[in-house]
């Protein structure tokens, strides 16, 4: 009998990177790229980094801020993030210019798990949640899968990553609150139609509790695999502090899992 060597967990590093660009997008969104080491560039879709965001003006936050990997540009050795300015940390991030330094810690957490047999996957993202799902499109398309991305936003012009997803080869649909198309009552029949007419193997979602519940219903009814990327304010990002726990239902029992360590991507059936 041969002894199997244990799978080596990948290294995680804190490293000071250089900002390559930090481009304002529409509304409160920014697209940030930094040069990074091979350790960081090994990040998988759904994984995240803890960014040491600089302080701006009166802002004196102390902890890092979690950001999903939006894109890995292996050719240029760059790691990209897409973020929404909401408070002190993201305000500080928005002030970074090309050439500035940014301390990043990662890659962290468990990403999406793709099954190579899948033919068609659906990405269902609300707001900045689409930034977390976007790298999945590139990976899936590279594996020959069809990708339908449904972008939910307050107004159509605020949809996140639409051009990027189209360029990657995904079929993009935008739904919004302004015309009511983002409401679950409207969205659910649309999704059901895609499921029955095109066949769907997998749905990934991020950014909304209502979308999570919708994906769970479709999972229960059609047996479609589903995964959700969850968010929770966190301190360490690596499983030490237990700040980011959320309740999950496993075998009928409520247990608490760390979003940073057991997640941020979870099976749709266990996410509460």
């Amino acid at each position: 009998m041969s002894t199997l060597s244990p799978i080596q967990p990948r290294p995680i590093r804190a490293e000071v990177c250089r900002v390559v660009f930090n481009t304002p997008l529409h509304g409160p969104y920014r697209h940030l790229a930094v040069t990074a080491s091979a350790t960081a560039l090994a990040a998988m879709p759904g994984q995240f980094f803890q960014l040491l965001c600089p302080g701006q003006g009166q802002d004196r936050h102390t902890l890092r801020r979690p950001m999903s990997v939006y894109r890995v540009d292996h050719a240029r050795g760059q790691l990209e993030f897409l973020f929404k300015i909401v408070g002190a940390g993201t305000r500080g991030l928005s002030g970074l210019a090309a050439g500035d330094e940014l301390d990043i810690f990662g890659p962290l957490g468990q990403g999406f798990r793709l099954n190579m047999q899948w033919r068609h996957i659906v990405l269902l993202g609300r707001g900045a949640g689409m930034a977390t799902l976007a790298p999945l499109a590139e990976t899936a398309i590279a594996r020959g899968m069809k990708v339908t991305a449904i972008l939910s936003a307050a107004r159509p012009e605020l949809a996140v990553a639409a051009d990027h997803l189209r360029a990657a080869g995904a079929e993009v649909r935008i739904v919004n609150d302004a015309d009511g198309s983002a409401a679950p009552e409207w969205l659910e029949p649309v999704l059901r139609q895609i499921v029955t007419e095109q066949g769907v193997n997998f749905i990934a979602t991020c950014g909304s509790g209502r979308l999570l519940r919708l994906v769970r219903r479709l999972h229960q009814e059609f047996g479609i695999d589903g995964q959700v990327a969850l968010e929770q304010p966190m301190a360490c990002g690596i499983g030490s502090c237990f700040c980011c726990v959320r309740p999950f239902v496993v075998d009928g029992q409520t247990i608490f899992k760390r979003v940073c360590q057991e997640g941020p991507v979870f099976a749709i059936q266990e996410a509460a």
């Binding site: 995680i12 700040c243 959320r246 360590q261």
Partner: protein, 312 residues
């Protein structure tokens, strides 16, 4: 040759730097070389299985964080079956941290941990004493003395008493822990605090109150280490707001034999290694050869900045 070893009772550590309980866990070996630490301190376990406090568990304060985790615990069986074997492959001694809600339960838990792979037991005395008044053991000298004494009778491992800063006179508690037979003191746990959201009028923590930790705490805990070092002849492990070599040295000058790093691990995950790396050069610069040369050597009677004195 620079000598970084320190002695905590019968235990000799390669260097004086270790994590604070609850701020370090399995997974950090992917980030730092764990073998370089002076010791590994595990997260506190309780006799029962606990989920911990409601969300939100975390908010930020200027210079630190405010958290109320509530000691989620998988209990001693899991700890002995999983955590102890996990750390067995690393060189530094493993310190178990325990908490319980009665003197009796403390003793039982300590006895349960009489297993190879555990070098010492740190007693987290910040938990509520449910038999008496529901307030932390370490807020009362008698409760501290009783708990430590009973734990000492239940284990042959060295016992470190981790005190709470939420007291008027910490030296009374330090003396009580010493009388109870503690081999060392850890000074200290988090300071109780709270924060309120002025837009919603809601407390920022699900538990309303939580512990303030991080850089903002350093002057307060440093003072407590200094006071305890005057009061008892025990080795003291300083813990509160340490994030750099200078912070660690300050604690040792105040009387600490070793230091624990907590919140700083969350911000700069290499903080402990950075401190260990910087210690030899610091000592060399000051003409010292042993890290123990720093302990309690603050020049207490030479305060004042001369330029200030000249003005006065």
């Amino acid at each position: 040759m620079i000598d970084l070893t320190v002695r905590i009772g019968s235990l000799i550590l390669e260097n004086p730097v270790m994590p604070g309980s609850g701020t370090f866990a399995e997974g950090m070996e992917r980030v730092i070389d764990v073998d370089r630490l002076g010791a590994i301190v595990a997260k506190t376990i309780t006799p029962d299985i606990r989920h911990g406090n409601p969300q939100p568990r975390l908010t930020e304060v200027v210079g630190g964080m405010l958290s109320s985790i509530g000691i989620p615990s998988k209990g001693p069986d899991y700890f002995c079956a999983e955590t102890v074997p996990f750390y067995a492959r690393f060189k530094p001694p493993l310190i178990a941290s325990i908490s319980a809600s009665s003197v009796e339960a403390f003793g039982k838990l300590a006895a349960r941990l009489n297993t190879p792979g555990i070098a010492a037991i740190e007693v987290n005395l910040s938990c509520p004493n449910l038999e008496v008044n529901g307030r932390a053991f370490a807020m009362f000298p008698e409760a501290t003395r009783d708990a430590i004494r009973h734990i000492k009778e239940s284990t042959d491992r060295p016992v470190w008493a981790k005190l709470t800063p939420n007291v008027g006179d910490i030296t009374e508690i330090a003396v009580a822990a010493h009388e109870g037979g503690a081999d060392a003191l850890v000074v200290a746990n988090a300071l109780l605090g709270m924060a309120i959201d002025v837009t919603t009028f809601r407390p920022k923590l699900g538990n309303v109150m939580g512990g303030v930790t991080g850089a903002a705490m350093k002057p307060v805990i440093l003072r407590m280490v200094y006071q305890c070092a005057q009061a008892v002849p025990l080795p003291i492990i300083g813990c509160g707001g340490i994030s750099s070599i200078n912070d660690a040295v300050e604690y040792m000058l105040a009387g600490a034999t070793a230091v624990q790093v907590g919140t700083a691990n969350f911000i700069h995950p290499t903080t402990m290694i950075d401190i260990i790396d910087a210690l030899p050069e610091f000592l060399r610069r000051h003409g010292l050869t042993r890290v123990t040369d720093l302990i309690g050597t603050m020049r207490a009677n030479e305060a004042a900045d001369p330029s200030w004195a000249a003005v006065g």
